[in-house]
Amino acid sequence: MKSKPRVELSRPVSDEVRKTTCYMCACRCGIDVHIKDGKIRYIEGNRDHPVNKGVLCAKGSAGIMQHYSPARLRAPLLRTGPRGSGEFKEISWEEALGIATGWLSAVRADDPKKLAFFTGRDQSQSLTGFWAQQFGTPNYAAHGGFCSVNMAAAGIMTIGGAFWEFGAPDWDRTKLFIMFGVAEDHDSNPLKMGIAKIKKNGARFVSVNPVRTGYSAVADNWIGIRPGTDGLLILAVVHELLKARKIDVDYLMRYSNAPWLVIDAPGTSEHGLFARDADGKPLVFETVTERVVPKGTAGARPALSGRYTLEDGRAVTPSFALLADKYLDEKYAPEAVAAETGVAAETIRGLAAEIARAAFDEAIFIEQPWTDMNGERHDGYVGRPVSFHAMRGLSAHSNGFQTARALHMLQVLIGAVDCPGAFRFEPPYPKPLEAHPTPHGKAEHFGSNKPLSGPHLGFPRGPEDLLVDADGKPQRIDKAFSWDAPISAHGLMHMVIANAHAGDPYPIDVLFLYMANMAWNSSMNTAGVIAMLEDKDPATGEYKIPKIIYSDAYASETVAYADLILPDTTYLERHDCISMLDRPISEPDAVQDAIRWPVVEPDRDVRGFQSVMLDLGARLKLPGFVDQRGNSIYKDYADYIVRHERRPGIGPLAGFRGANGDRTGRGAANPDQLKRYIENGSFFSAHIPLEAQFFKHANRNYQDFAVRMGFFDTPQPVTFQLYSETLQKFRLSAEGLREPLAPETHRQRIRDSFDPLPDWYRPFEEAAVERDQFPYHAITQRPAAMYHSWGSMNPWLRQIHTRNPLYVPGPICDRHGLKDGDWVHLISSHGRIKVEIARMDAVNASTIWTWNAIGKRKGAWSLDTDVPEARKGFLMNHLIHELLPPKGDGLRWSNSDPVTGQAAWYDLRVRIEKAEPGETSEPRFPAMAEPGGRRGHPDELRYGQEWAK
């Protein structure tokens, strides 16, 4: 029977396609937004886009619902009720900006450090950082401190770049891909595409993660490690590789500091530092002529072992000898670490064998002549096709910095950095530590009505660069770059509210936050933080943190705690620039950046945050924002993107520069630049020539290319720092051997955690609590279909994760008589929650977990107050304190990595107790009102019904 032609097969999809960049997570995929009758009909991945090549994740496709969510803020708001009530009145932008300018100009004149400006989900740090610097407060950072600074700082300090945003696995060539920890939330589409690719190519994918969901579910091998012990596993692998002599000696000699000579002079201020010549150049021992020469001396064949004496009599040893000595110790043997890591010795040995086999037996050679920084010609690129990826899973521990360093060391030992088949840098990385600034924020760096004398964030080279006063007291509100967290390269946003509330190191006047849910899922000890925000000074009746300005697009929990709300647009209504000055979208083979532009116009009285910052900058008459006559330089953010120059010819965007738009990297501002970007799909891509694509850290062709593009003004090659002199300087200070000396209170801690060679120690919380009282770990995983807390206002996404059960390993269920649907108390040394459980077996037997940030507060996000997110959903945050349990030294230490200050989310230890059945998770919080008044929401959605035929 012939079917009737009942279907219209060739209906045009839309009236118009507008290409922009997604912002449903931090991936920055290209999207085609189909517009029909002025509404968004359909969002799909842009096939031509280098990041996602046409694919798009669940969040990206749900952009329609994000854009039209009733939780969008509608107008500037001024608080009318007490903090937390959600009671606000709508005010005009003129009034709002007037109030903000009043508050801020008073602070700037009086004492600029009384402004703390911290940004959360910000992709415009080159602007916000510039603004904060011109304002003059030392208290600025983004959210890296509670995100992944361990990864970033360890990567930069070791190899000149880290994983996501600094580089990517060579998906096409890799033969072994090893992923550590949860990684579903960043770079998610490229990772998924990459995993699919390596599976297709028959390569092996190993996942090291206590929980076997998401990517781990499809891994060829899953290593269900005990949280916080990854570093030990990696060092055991290093032990095995050294023992079996499976290391790339040539690579180490050429590209790492393995041959650099370390001074052996115990008890002196130079013990463990590199021996240097008069120009400060590190020395190596040349084996042919048997003399000490500066590194990089032509023709030199430096020693990697041995003990030598310098002309001045000092004893020295190549750093590699120290390294080999350390890791060949039997304490790193697989058998020795099996119990601590929960990984069988045979698995560790198997992993090492697999790495050795892929790196050396399956080495790649690409014939492509290139020249290294010493001028030596090479016939081609040797590839060690073993690649790695890690993100928060390694990072969010108090030993995360050293663990991330250990992983990078492993990469270097097998010669698998920026070679074919391995992890490869993405421009503008690699970038040596020396090319990063040192931090600014000491008293002499700022003052009334003047800019900060340099960038806030950077890398101290030693204790002398810390932002502390003469007594060693912190200068920043978050205590970044103090003895508490010396190399806190991204600041410590998670400590700001607690410190400001305590007035330690000093009280502040204005807290200015952008897009960070600090009154909910972005803070440890959520209830405590809420109380701090609500707390008043009994003497004055004023809030302890007197003024809070907050900018967000949606009615998040944090909105209710601010005094002044500057409503942001949705990502489809705004200009943005994903900039080479910031965190671009480059690929290993190409220099790339991108923009967003308003593909639909706002239908509310809202403004893009960056344009508001420019407006505020002009109202405050900040240098760089106003001209000599005091008139604002930039009309709005779009204007800034095109015309701002950080250095002559270097602006936020690298593409289509110059009057004719034909210059790349360096060039005059081009008034048509944004138009050109839009025509090009909202991104720009310039290919790196093949002779510059690999070994970028030491490739003359690449370094010249980087200078031409304007990343640097002179070549900036990187020598991989397996042995970190910076860390040793801190240790010398802690040993009382080198000025400035570390305070007594901090010495033990620094001695224990600043090993110049990658090290492993037990995470602090685990070390502090009684292990049998808190026998289990509790961690979160990142669902692929939700980005942090941004998703519950989206009806398509919230249907996937409407609530989050507590997943309890089968053996723990059996031990405690628990089954699906039972309620338990989960108890840490800090607090307890009561939640519903579900059983799971595909998980490390001592690890309890849940999905991150699904739990919502009643009344937030314009949801009904009885939604499952608020009733049964919950946060693990209630169990985690921003401070470690007291350990009897009279001090309370931050629950952070001692090197970087990275929040140690995943150090949590718990016990579990069966509870009475419940209906609502505990702790409970009172409902908040919808900011600006309730406008209600539809009881039914039939999106697109008007297009049905």
Partner: protein, 307 residues
């Protein structure tokens, strides 16, 4: 399966109506009696009410007429078609009884046969579904037919008593059908309880070659159309109690009443009341039985939903 009230009422009430129509079609009742005329009207009324109830669960009842078109393949369509065809002889018989006090055997028998065919079609809607293994047996239409007859003849017994006629034949037949119906139903339940599911989470996912499969996370956390429609669960203990209740109300009580009626002999008023009680009890029992028919049935799709 979700026990939808509209469908439970539909199958129970129309079953009763068709059963009564069969008794009328066989000429068991005195065509001259007023009670018989009422019985004709009631039969049609029950059938119509049942059918009306069945449209309540349609998403677009205004298009219900389209359901007559696919009788070649669809039992639901066949049921609709049969209901309409059956209506003709039943209405004609009713007309003759109401206005002429006549019983025409050919017409009556045709009506009876078609009534049974309609009930069969109704039952086959369920019995034809391989996806619901509990229903997928010839015992399903057998139960539907016998329950319809048992209820109908009990009702006929009442009308026979009301019309002053002899109740023996309809009552005895009602007892036979009741016994047969419950025998069939117990066989049906027995089969259900011993059923080995042909589809399991392992066959549903094809992952049985690795091991035991269980749902970890639903695709969407809240219930959806499928879980609301097919995911209904009733506790085994609860179901067993309800099964006893349905057997008591739908079988034992009406049987005892009918036996009592037969034993007590003719006393019109009391007989009507006893028969009415038997019918009411049976109908109530049937509602419970139908509720269980749905509530206990497991749909293959629940293999994907951990049900």
């Amino acid at each position: 399966m979700h026990p939808a009230l509209s469908i439970i009422v539909f199958t129970t009430v129309s079953g009763l109506g068709y059963g009564l129509a069969v008794a009328l079609g066989l000429g068991l009742l005195d065509p001259m009696a007023t009670a018989t005329r009422v019985a004709h009207v009631l039969a049609l009324g029950l059938i119509a009410a049942g059918l009306a109830s069945s449209t309540l669960h349609l998403g677009n009842p205004q298009r219900a007429w389209r359901a007559f078109s696919q009788w070649r393949s669809s039992w639901l369509s066949r049921e609709g078609v049969m209901a309409v065809i059956t209506f003709l002889p039943l209405a004609a018989s009713a007309w003759l009884a109401l206005f002429e006090g006549r019983y025409v055997p050919a017409l009556g028998l045709a009506g009876a046969a078609l009534s049974l065919a309609t009930v069969y079609c109704t039952a086959m809607i369920y019995a034809s579904l391989k996806s619901v293994q509990t229903w997928h047996t010839p015992l399903t239409p057998l139960c539907y037919l016998l329950f319809s007859l048992a209820g109908g003849f009990a009702l006929a017994t009442m009308f026979a008593a009301a019309g002053g006629g002899t109740v023996t034949l309809p009552a005895v037949l009602a007892l036979i059908f009741l016994a047969a119906a419950w025998a069939a139903k117990l066989a049906w339940r027995n089969r259900m309880n011993r059923l080995r599911p042909i589809s399991t989470p392992e066959t549903a996912t094809g992952l049985g070659f690795i091991g035991k499969v269980r749902l970890f996370e639903r695709p969407h956390i809240n219930d959806n159309y499928l879980t609301r429609e097919m995911g209904f669960r009733v506790a085994r203990k609860h179901a067993a109690k309800l099964a006893m209740l349905s057997l008591g109300l739908g079988g034992l009580v009406p049987a005892a009443l009918l036996v009592g009626l037969l034993a007590a002999g003719p006393a019109q008023g009391a007989a009507v009341a006893v028969a009415l009680l038997a019918v009411a009890s049976h109908a109530t029992g049937m509602l419970v039985e139908r509720w269980l028919f749905f509530a206990e049935a497991r749909h293959a799709v629940m293999n994907y939903y951990g049900g």
